[in-house]
């Protein structure tokens, strides 16, 4: 389920302008280029010769069409993936890693979702917070999760946080930053708790505490001030909630409540709606209108004469 919310991109234009193909965000059409080895998965093409010219790969066809539409029609602009806000933060404490995020997804200046999930599952003890374009972060992390599962089944070992980070940054670098996903990967594996931040172009850093998204300044300010190495779980959780709250209150693009995920050597616990710094706004009055509120001026009834042309009955097999 691709989230139709575009939550922002750092680059001036997304890979595939959001258009008629669907509001799947930047990644919506990325995958149709099947490499040569994948060809022939179906019976679709006659002639397995490698030299046969291929039609333009699926999603890229809309790029030139959109460009020519903009050129031909004056004043027409293809809708672009919009930047929204997020505050995500993470820190390493004594027994593991704790990740936190706000829950607001915006589209330009309208809040699209007041309670969305930004902490994604990758492996039983590895979670990932995503900022940037929502669809990109979502799809990238889902694919990373699937690939990690396959990889750990193949190796027979528990997945490592470095593997996840490498997988993510290789994917992001491949698309040269057009996939606008900034990710915070945190988890515990045999070498201990680790926290990595991965940026849309493929760079990464390993840090004891960090924050990403539009509210990162506010969150980082709190974290820089009060972070200590080897904190207890309670202290770490409190600090994280304060950092995200600072982002929620200080940044217009972040809001909602605070979600957190505590990962220790024994497992992970996702704490949804850990704290709500703001109360939901109370509607001052009723907005329900009784029937008859609006006076009817005039009424015309036009019967439509329809003629039955054809009737087909298709038996449905019900087992």
């Amino acid at each position: 389920m691709l989230s139709p919310k575009a939550s922002g991109t750092d680059t001036p234009g997304p890979l595939f302008p959001v258009g008629a193909e669907g509001r799947q965000g930047v990644l919506g059409d990325l995958g149709c280029q099947a490499p040569a080895a994948r060809r022939g998965r179906g019976w679709d093409v006659v002639g397995g010769c490698d030299a046969a010219p291929e039609p333009q790969p699926g999603p890229l066809h809309s790029v030139s069409r959109n460009a020519s539409l903009e050129r031909v029609l004056p004043g027409f602009r293809i809708p672009r993936a919009h930047k929204t806000g997020t505050t995500i933060a993470g820190l390493v404490f004594r027994d593991g890693v704790i990740l936190g995020a706000d829950t607001r997804a915006t589209n330009d200046s309208v809040v699209m979702d007041k309670n969305c999930e930004k902490i994604h599952f990758i492996a039983p003890k590895i979670y990932c917070c995503g900022a940037g374009v929502a669809a990109d972060a979502e799809m990238t992390t889902r694919m990373a999760a699937s690939n990690m599962e396959l990889h750990s089944l193949s190796t027979g070992r528990e997945p490592r946080v470095t593997t996840v980070t490498r997988l993510l940054r290789q994917t992001l670098f491949r698309y040269r930053g057009h996939v606008g996903a900034s990710l915070l990967v945190g988890g515990v594996d045999f070498s201990g708790p680790q926290l990595y931040s991965v940026h849309p172009h493929g760079s990464y850093s390993r840090l004891p505490f960090t924050a990403l998204g539009s509210g990162q300044d506010a969150a980082l300010a709190v974290l820089e001030d009060r972070f200590q190495p080897n904190m207890t779980l309670e202290a770490a959780q409190e600090l994280l909630v304060e950092a995200i709250t600072a982002g929620i209150l200080g940044d217009l693009g972040s809001g909602g409540s605070v979600d957190a995920c505590v990962i220790t050597g024994t497992g992970a616990k996702l704490l949804r709606t850990l704290s709500s710094p703001t109360k939901p706004t109370e509607r001052p009055s009723q907005y329900y209108f009784a029937p008859g509120t609006t006076a009817v001026q005039s009424q015309t009834v036009k019967p439509l004469t329809l003629e039955l042309l054809e009737e087909t009955v298709q038996a449905m097999e019900v087992e």
């Binding site: 990644l27 990325l30 995958g31 060809r39 397995g48």
Partner: protein, 125 residues
């Protein structure tokens, strides 16, 4: 390692489909392709179009080159030999091959990429 063999297969242009004789017989898809414009067909429409087209080839070149430098000439040679050997086994002459063994050798059977989840099966060529 001299990767000239792979380099010659790099695609640096976009084939003009309407002039090709072996394409399927279908009308120009106006909704997807837009109004006919030679520039659109000859030039890449997106900065990543060419890199994505050549991605597999470039990856292979890089990997074989690294392997050559670390383990010597025979390592990439043997792998390429296996790839070529596995591509010899096909179905009947006019049927497309599933390239199943090639997928296994490349490790594609254990990975999921965007081409698997966002793919339109009728467009797999």
């Amino acid at each position: 390692m001299n990767a000239r063999g792979l380099g010659s297969q790099l695609k640096d242009n976009i084939p003009v489909t309407e002039l090709s004789a072996s394409g399927t017989f279908e009308q120009r898809d106006l909704l997807r392709k837009g109004l006919p414009c030679m520039k659109n067909e000859l030039l890449p429409s997106h900065p990543l179009e060419l890199t994505e087209k050549n991605f597999q080839l470039n990856q292979d070149k890089m990997n074989f080159s690294t392997l050559r430098n670390i383990q010597g000439l025979f390592a990439p040679l043997k792998l390429q030999m296996e790839f070529k050997a596995v591509q010899q086994v096909q179905r009947l002459p006019f049927l497309p091959s599933s390239n199943f063994s090639l997928d296994i050798l490349r490790g594609n059977d254990e990975t999921i990429g965007f081409e698997d989840i966002l793919n339109d099966m009728s467009q797999v060529n």
